[in-house]
Each structure stands twice: as C-alpha cells, then as structure tokens.
C-alpha cells in the first residue's frame, strides 16, 4: 500500500516537473524573441480586407539594434525603414515620395509584445499540427480568447527558429479578418547593412515630414474612462490641432497585446453633423456617438461589443 502511494506521489511530481519545463507559452515567448534577434529576408503576402499585397522584408540585428526594411511590391510603391525606435515610411503618390517619421508599430511578423504576460490572461493557447509554410516545417498554435471581446489568432511558427511564418485572424463566425503569410524566407548570415537604405527614384520629388503627428502636445485629459473591456490598456496617445481652430482632437490607442482599438475624441465644428451608430468595414468595426459637443468614435479590428464598450467608456 505504501509503495502504491509513493508511486502515485512520484507520478504527480513528475507531471508537474514536466509541465514546468515545457510551459506551452514558451513557444509564444520564443516566437517573440525570434522576431527581434534573427536575421532574415523574405516575401510575404498581406491580406487586409479584400486587398492582398506582396511585401519584401529584410531584418537584421546589429549591436542589439534592430534594422528593418520593408518594400511593398504590388501597386503603388511604399517602404518602411526602421532603425531601433526610429521608423520612416516612404509613400509614393504620383510624382511625389512623402517621407514620414512615425511611431514604431508591431508589424507582421513581429506582432507579439515583448512581454507576453498580457496575452496569457485573456487567450487560451492550444497547439495544433505541423504544416509546411514557405518550404519550412512549422508548428501551428491557436490563441483563443477567453471572452467575446477579442478575435482568435492562428499562428504557424517555424519549428527551427520559432519565427512566425503565417498569421490568420478569425472572428467568432470563423471569417478571416486579416492574414499574412511568407511565401519565401531565408536566414541571412551576412551582417553587412548596405541594404539598409531607401531606393531613390531621381524622377520623383521627395517631401520630408520629420514631425511625428501630435508630437509636443502635452496630454491634458478633460475626460475620464470607465469600464473599458478587460485586458485592454492604453498604449498610446496622440493629440492634433484642428486646422483653423484652437482646439485639439485626441486619439487614445488601447491594446490587449494583440488587438488594437483607437478611441477618438474630436470636437464637432460649425456645420458638421455628428455621426452616430456603428458600421463594419471588413476587419474593422466603427462605433460613433455624440457627447457634449464632441464626436466620440472607436475604431478597431475588434468585435462589435468591444467597439461599443470603448465608445461608451468616455465621460466628461
């Protein structure tokens, strides 16, 4: 009898040890690190709503600093050059190339936050089967939300490097909201950074806008935010001066680590009609209401209930 009890104790202890050593969330943590430290070059398709475009990406880490270059290969040329926390976007519009300094974003494949604790509390992780993506063996993983306030995320992570090779976002009805997938990818060993420069077209006019939108305006909220959907935290704040009027328009950005919602607080000017109600535009829900002279509007790739909760959360 004693031997039996000892055996059961041993069995439970071995299970707990094996679970501790193989925390399933490590696979997401490793993927997050892989997007920051690996040197690679590839092409992926990015589908947004009904539009699909091919994008070439080159990523390298040199002296703990990330260098990223992305080129839009289809349609109107566009590029991103990112070094550390500085990011420049090149947009070609007819004969002009507009260069903008922008705030850095987590763009595919680097869509995981550095600290994945935030997503652990609001998504369930399940491991799927192995599949080939872009000629490489990958492990599929699913992040299913614990509530109805966010969408499901499907990832295919490179088995060898943990780099995300494919991502699909599905709504509650299993409709594809957004997806991105590598068609080819290669790890690069050459640490030369000669590629890190924009492709200049001498026939174009280059217009440089070095000012980040809203930079230098101090946050002075006259509102309070109550009962925002659980798991979402304010990650950014942008204020802009409305041209011709000495009043500000505000944008608050919230995220749960994967999903993003912008909450706009914009004064209604003379002759403007405030917007109310909600609309679904492919991946985005937009929820609008009018309050005390201001247009309140929530925009994001989130379920309608989340969108509504955000638009109703502002009080002043």
């Amino acid at each position: 009898m004693i031997y039996k009890l000892l055996f059961i104790c041993y069995l439970f202890s071995s299970i707990s040890i094996s679970y501790g050593d193989n925390d399933p969330w490590l696979i997401i943590d490793n993927a997050s690190k892989a997007t920051r430290i690996l040197n690679y070059k590839g092409i992926f398709h990015s589908q947004h709503n009904k539009e699909i475009k091919s994008i070439e990406i080159t990523h390298a880490t040199n002296n703990d600093q990330e260098f990223i270059k992305m080129n839009v290969l289809d349609g109107s040329p566009g590029a991103v050059l990112s070094q550390g926390k500085t990011i420049y976007v090149y947009n070609t519009i007819e004969n002009n190339v507009i260069i903008q300094k922008r705030k850095q974003q987590r763009l595919f494949p680097a869509i995981f936050p550095n600290n994945i604790d935030a997503i652990k509390n609001f998504y369930r992780l399940s491991i799927g089967k192995s599949e080939r993506i872009a000629g490489r063996l990958s492990q599929s993983v699913v992040l299913t939300p614990i509530d109805s306030l966010r969408y499901s995320y499907y990832f295919w992570l490179d088995k060898k490097t943990s780099l995300p090779l494919k991502m699909v976002v599905l709504d509650q009805a299993k409709n594809i909201i957004e997806q991105a997938s590598f068609t080819q990818i290669n790890m690069i060993k050459d640490k030369n950074l000669d590629w890190f420069k924009p492709e200049v077209d001498p026939s174009k006019n280059y217009i440089f806008n070095d000012k980040v939108v809203g930079q230098g305006i101090i946050k002075k909220p006259f509102w309070t935010i109550k009962k925002i959907p659980s798991g979402y935290k304010e990650v950014d704040f942008i204020s802009k001066r409305i041209p011709g009027l000495n009043i500000l328009s505000h944008q608050l950005v919230f995220s749960d680590g994967l999903s993003y919602v912008s909450l706009f607080i914009k004064p209604i000017t003379r002759g403007q009609k405030p917007k109310v109600g909600h609309v679904n535009l492919g991946i985005n829900n937009i929820c609008a209401r009018y309050h005390n002279g201001y247009q309140i509007m929530a925009v994001g790739s989130v379920p309608l209930i989340t969108c509504n909760n955000f638009s109703e959360s502002i009080k002043f």
């Binding site: 990015s46 947004h48 903008q100 922008r102 974003q105 939108v213 912008s262 009609k273």
Partner: protein, 148 residues
C-alpha cells in the same frame, strides 16, 4: 484823524477842514489809510471793479508757473496705489475676453442641428489615423495617413 478822513470821503467836510486834514495826513504818513478809505467808499457806492494791480499780479503769477507738458505728476506712493486699482478693471476685461472667446468656440462646435449615421459618412480620416498608429498590417501601416 480817521474820522475826518472818513468824513472827507463822505463829502461831509468843509473846504478849510479838508486843507487841514491833507496837511496832517502828509505829516503822519496816512497814505495807507487814505487808500483803504478810497476802497471802502468805492465798494459801498458800488463803484469798485477791482484794481489794475490785482489783475497784473494774477497774470504775473500765472506766467511764473512752470509749463506742464504731460499730465499731472503724482506722489510716488499714490502711483502704486493707483496702479493696483487698475487690476480689478484689467481682470474684468480679461474675464470678459475669456467668456467671449469661449462663447465663440462653443458656437464654433456646439451647434448641432442633426446627426448622421456613421455608415452613411464613413470617417476615412479616422480609420487612416488608426492604421497609422495601431495597425499590425504592414500594407495599411505604410499607406495610411499619407495625406497629413
């Protein structure tokens, strides 16, 4: 003596009394009294219109006064007090200015006749702002808000 002088100006003396009085007044230097009685008589008889000397003295005194070019000088302490008296007036004007400006701004964005459904007027500018600051999709991150 003084009574005789007074009688003289009242035409109450005989001619020999007048001669005698003039001789005595010259001796006794009664010139001032003489002038006073002349003045009293003129005033009683309503024949006094002021003296030429008085007018001349007033004009001379005015000419001696310094010319004033810019306002009246004030005592130092009074000026501080007066300056502090301007503050309530300035504050009142500032308050009126702020109220006026606020009223203008309120008029600028608070007149709302009606509302429209958001689906009838899609706010593309706000969607672009959202993509530019929160999108995980590279394509739209690049394209968004290029028109700023």
């Amino acid at each position: 003596m003084n009574e005789k002088l007074s009688s003289l100006f009242d035409n109450e003396l005989e001619s020999h009394e007048i001669d005698e009085l003039l001789k005595q007044s010259n001796k006794q230097k009664k010139k001032n009294h003489w002038s006073y009685y002349q003045l009293i008589r003129d005033v009683i008889q309503k024949n006094h219109f002021g003296s030429d000397n008085l007018t001349k003295n007033i004009i001379a005194a005015i000419e001696k006064e310094p010319t004033q070019l810019g306002g009246f000088g004030r005592h130092k302490d009074n000026s501080i007090e007066n300056k502090s008296n301007y503050w309530p007036i300035a504050a009142s004007f500032a308050a009126l200015f702020v109220i006026g400006l606020t009223a203008l701004n309120l008029n600028e964005f608070k007149i709302v006749d009606s509302v429209v459904l958001v689906e009838a007027d899609i706010p593309t500018d706000l969607i672009n702002d959202h993509y530019a600051s929160a999108s995980s999709n590279v394509n739209f991150f690049i394209q968004a808000s290029y028109n700023k």
